[in-house]
């Protein structure tokens, strides 16, 4: 009897989207922090 529950599939699709998006956001966030710090010149906190 095939399992009819689609909940697992939706959970997997949501989880994958969250991981990829979260990772992309982390790159963006880190890049912004680096870019902002370099505008303040050396010795900035």
């Amino acid at each position: 009897m095939p399992p009819r529950d689609a909940g697992y599939a939706y959970a997997a699709y949501v989880a994958a989207a969250l991981i990829y998006a979260g990772y992309a956001l982390s790159i963006w966030w880190r890049w912004r922090r680096v870019a902002r710090r370099s505008t303040r010149g050396p010795g900035a906190p």
Binding site: D5, A6, S26, R32, T39, P45
Partner: protein, 267 residues
């Protein structure tokens, strides 16, 4: 070279989504235009990234809404449109690139190669994480258990741990050249280890009595499913390339900053 950069590696290097401790969280009050103007570093996300996002979006819609439900496994089979491309990308693109550029680094000593290795390791960690999460989500409805000790999934878990160890080690070495050499050595040995891990988990399963399980191989797939599969492979490979490029640009920007305030920095 940048041997004396004592600034720490909070923003640079690895660490996944969590990031490092580094600078205290600053609010977003600064005017947006000021942020990036003086950096010559290219912004991480360009047309390539948005193309990849669109391709993944089309894959999602097609897989969920326009691909028939498989008769034997039910809707859970659709998890494979995520799982298989992520596994392929993690092992044959990310991990292979990491190992190959590490070999080339020890030969040519070009910092670019070290950067490629580090970036593909981190992007590969994201894809491996997807493999490890989607695998059990498929196994639960189809096999009735979250973790069955399946050979390929277990091997992926160890691959995940190896990449994590690699990234932890990169965080722990400050000298850039030393870090590059150590990382290259570790990545090459990891490349040699992967076949052994596959052999081990394979032997473990064949020499042990195991429940007979449904093999997720699909020799004769209907055309609609095959097209979705092909689309998914292309979309996620594209996503890998886009994320790798973004991560590479982040590494460039971080290194430029490190060099800029390297000598006069605190600590």
């Amino acid at each position: 070279m940048g041997a004396t950069s004592n600034v720490g590696v909070a923003g640079h290097g690895a660490g996944g989504a969590g990031g490092g401790a580094g600078a205290p969280a600053r609010d977003e009050s600064a005017p947006p235009g000021r942020d990036r103007a003086p950096t010559s570093a290219p912004r991480p996300f360009g047309a390539l990234f948005w193309t990849a996002v669109a391709a993944v979006g089309v894959t999602y819609v097609r897989a969920l809404a326009f691909t028939p439900v498989e008769a034997l496994q039910g809707p859970a089979q659709k998890i494979f449109y995520l799982h298989a491309p992520a596994a392929f990308t993690a092992l044959y693109l990310a991990f292979a690139l990491m190992a190959i550029s590490s070999v080339l680094y020890l030969w040519l000593r070009d910092p670019k190669l070290d950067r490629v290795a580090a970036c593909s390791a981190e992007v590969g960690l994201a894809f491996t994480t997807v493999v490890l999460i989607t695998g059990p989500l498929w196994a639960k409805p189809v096999w009735g258990t979250w973790w069955s000790g399946d050979a390929r999934l277990t091997a992926t878990l160890f691959l995940w741990l190896i990449i994590l160890g690699y990234l932890v080690m990169r965080q722990a070495v400050e000298d850039r050249e030393l870090r590059a050499r150590y990382s290259a050595v570790l990545a090459i040995l990891a490349g040699l280890l992967v076949p052994f891990i596959h052999l081990t988990v394979y032997l473990f399963r064949t020499l042990h009595p195991q429940p007979i399980v449904l093999k997720p191989s699909a020799p004769s797939m209907p055309a609609e499913m095959a097209v979705t599969f092909a689309l998914a492979f292309v979309a996620f490979a594209l996503l890998f390339v886009a994320l790798l490029r973004a991560r590479y640009r982040l590494a460039l920007a971080a290194e430029a900053r490190e060099e800029a305030d390297g000598s006069g920095g605190p600590n």
